[in-house]
Amino acid sequence: MSADFAVAWQVMKWPLVACLILPPLLVYLGLHVVKREVIFVDLALAQVAALGTCLALLFGFQFGDRNTFWISLGVTFLGAGLFSWTRSRHRSHVPQEAIIGITFVVAAAGVILMLSRVAGGKEELEHLLTGDILNVTAAEVGERAAVFAVLAGFYATFHKRFAQISSDPDGAFATGLSVRLWDFLFYAAFALVVVSFVRVAGVLLTFAYLIVPAVCAVILAERWLSRLLVGGALAATASLIGLFASYQLDLPTGAAIVCACGLLLVLVGLFAGFRGRAAAA
């Protein structure tokens, strides 16, 4: 029994660490995204990051090369620039959500086009979607933890500004804040998070960590800090359930966590529904 546990621990140790210490920053960003009502911005950015990775593969770099990371990051910065630029002050006829949706499908189609020229493209495509969180190494987790710590410091320092441009952009404009610049900084740091996380976790798991805990937190709590704590706790719970199921039932790890996230959202939704009915009665 204990020998079994030792093996399980050895196999799941680094995935577990990655899934516990990295998601809180994603939850924070998810709260912004939900506030801004640009839900698909993260899926679109994750897809743009994947597009950048494909571009690097097309140049002949390997999936794990440093250069692949930098190319992917560069392309994602372009996407970040596009999103901050299209967020107009005045309501335009074209909602930003449309731009985001278009970016997503074009990036997704671009990935398919590029991978048709790369050996084993079909499988690389699947790899980009599902990632390889099971085989994450100590070095990969460490690097990302360091990057995330710096970015968390950045977001914490300027939280007031980011919170303002997320919840009240018009008010921010009125105070003379350069919303577009701060938006770009926000999205650029966002891009860095997404690019570094997508490389180990894949597009699906990145999106799930960004959105599902944030949505649950918005249902359950009111203030930024309590939402962040609730979201972080839910992300950790989903990680544990997903990793456990993956090991016990021998399922692909990333997809198991995504489904655990979905399951948690259903439970939170039911709980909120009952609570609402109880409050009304």
Binding site: V7, L57, S116, R117, V118, A119, T137, D250
Partner: protein, 308 residues
């Protein structure tokens, strides 16, 4: 009474290892990356080994989805048999890193690299990933040539004997039996395919080169423009015209390849799509290497019959 029984038992237990009826040593846990290698390991290892394959028979050996059980299996393995020549490059190294098992680390007696003794075909002179599924060390689908299977079987026997010297004689005998069986079968297969010497066939991936070389067939085209690159319309048009000019009658597809593409091409040219596999177990009734080759040769003969 009890004491006497105990003493007899103890005496029996003590003398048993010296007697003729030596208890069998613990079964070796042998892991093969693909089912074809696993089938060979079963032939050679016999009762002395437990064999597991990481890839499913219907899975592309270039791309295997990592699952926790793979790491656990590798962690407990006494012997790992890989195809080598970068066949498993995309998925095996990270699994091995997670498994942390020195018994099967590179260079250990417990690590068999099947490609080691093989004369590789299609070794590239230049290296460029955009040229397709670049296998810098040559085409890794060599086991489909029965003579290569014999080489790999001998390599497996040698490594198993190093890891478990007590069973060396058994491994040697099993190897002998396997070689004899394959020699007999090979004569049979060659006889069946002799009428079709020089026949042109089309395959999806560059995975039947060694087979064609052994049995005197010619691969006229592959549906993939380059190994690992999805078929494009212009390339398929070229394949269709080649097939019409050369009167190619058969297109070979494996379970994980896109049968629809083969069907489209077959429709345009009146050729037959033949479902074959290089992995035992993918097609019902093919458990051993010989079963697999039997099925392949039989299917090919029936497909080529209309040719003559």
């Amino acid at each position: 009474m009890k004491t006497i029984a105990l003493i007899t038992f103890a005496a029996a237990a003590l003398t048993a290892p010296l007697g003729t009826s030596t208890p069998p040593p613990a079964r070796l846990s042998v892991v093969a990356t693909t089912p074809d290698l696993a089938a060979l390991a079963k032939e050679i290892g016999g009762d002395a080994v437990d064999v597991k394959a990481l890839a499913k028979p219907t899975e592309d050996p270039h791309f295997v989805d990592a699952k926790p059980s793979h790491i656990v299996t590798l962690n407990r393995a006494d012997v790992l048999i890989e195809g080598g020549a970068e066949l498993e490059l995309g998925w095996l190294p990270p699994l091995l890193e997670s498994a942390r098992n020195s018994r099967i680390s590179a260079g250990a007696p417990g690590r068999v690299v099947a490609s080691k003794g093989i004369k590789m075909l299609e070794v590239p002179t230049t290296f460029d990933r955009s040229k397709g599924d670049v296998h810098a060390l040559g085409n890794p689908h060599f086991l489909i040539d029965p003579l290569n299977a014999k080489i790999v079987a001998a390599d497996i026997a040698e490594h198993l004997s190093q890891v478990q010297p007590q069973s060396a004689d058994a491994f040697k005998a099993n190897l002998q039996r396997f070689n004899t069986a394959i020699d007999a079968k090979l004569a049979e297969w060659e006889k069946q395919l002799t009428p079709y010497h020089g026949a042109k066939i089309v395959t999806y991936h560059k995975d039947f080169g060694y087979f064609a070389e052994r049995f005197g067939l010619e691969i006229a085209e592959t549906l993939e423009p380059k190994p690992g690159i999805a078929p494009s319309p212009s390339h398929l048009a070229q394949v269709i015209s080649t097939m019409r000019n050369d009167k190619v009658r058969v297109v070979l597809v494996q379970p994980y390849q896109n049968r629809k593409t083969a069907e489209t091409v077959a429709r345009q040219t009146g050729a037959a799509v033949l479902d074959v596999s290089q992995q035992p177990g993918a097609i019902p009734g093919t458990t051993t290497y010989a079963d697999l080759m039997d099925h392949l040769v039989r299917t090919l003969v029936s497909g080529l019959q209309g040719d003559k």
